[in-house]
Symmetry: C2
Subunit: 143 residues, 2 copies
């Protein structure tokens, strides 16, 4: 329960991938697809949303591809998830009018769930996530 869709999970991995390769020029969706074992067509759809949010920059034509749109230390996981999946909503009643609102025994907990998740995802940066991967790769290279 409380699952993210693949869009959110893939987007997070894609952002870390681009963060690690920052400065190496545009990366194509095909490169990402191969490295992360995802469908290039599906990556395309995710990129549309990341680009609209300014999280990645696209470069058309030959030698084109995608680069990260901002400093990875300033992009949070919350930004990425919001861009591709929309706001955190354990219960849909939280953004539509609900006549039980005033007396609903469950509403406060769902609101608290939103708060703790927004806090966690807001504190988690792409740069922070990338560090760990870089460290891992460093180890494997040193063998």
């Amino acid at each position: 329960m409380m699952a993210l869709s693949t869009k959110g999970r893939y987007a997070a991995r894609i952002m870390v991938y681009l963060a690690i390769r920052q400065g190496a020029g545009p990366i194509t969706k095909y490169q990402i697809a191969e490295a992360e074992e995802l469908s290039a067509d599906y990556i395309e759809q995710i990129m549309v949303r990341l680009r609209a949010a300014g999280l990645v920059i696209s470069h058309r034509g030959r030698k084109g591809g995608f680069t990260i749109g901002q400093d990875p230390a300033k992009i949070t996981l919350g930004d990425v998830l919001a861009a591709v999946e929309g706001p955190i909503r354990p219960a849909p009643c939280l953004d539509s009018y609900c006549k039980r609102e005033a007396s609903c025994p469950t509403r406060p907990v769902w609101e608290q769930a939103v708060a703790v998740l927004e806090d966690l995802f807001g504190r988690t940066t792409i740069a922070g996530m990338a560090e760990q991967t870089k460290a891992q790769e460093g180890i494997s290279y040193s063998i």
Copy 2:
């Protein structure tokens, strides 16, 4: 994103409903259905899972219905959600083998999300949720 299904949300409301009416004898699914504006057929399916977890007790035959299975102060929202929806899993890779496991940049944050949600839901009791509703009903009666 990160939505609970109706099973979890309805189950929470049903448990609070039964907690408030504790001691008044078995409540039928039709009574719950009318009060909470849910389908009686769907309540039935939710009850199967709540019963299997010992959270409600069913009484067959005439004068039958459902009663709460334990002290509402000892039943947490986490217990209820686990019974009807299964464990909290932002990403499915958390319980299946994943070859990226060791180097995955996203896995730690999904694990942290599970932790903060389990903490929140584990601290929230049915009795606590019921209090609020009782208080609200008290206010409306006093007019």
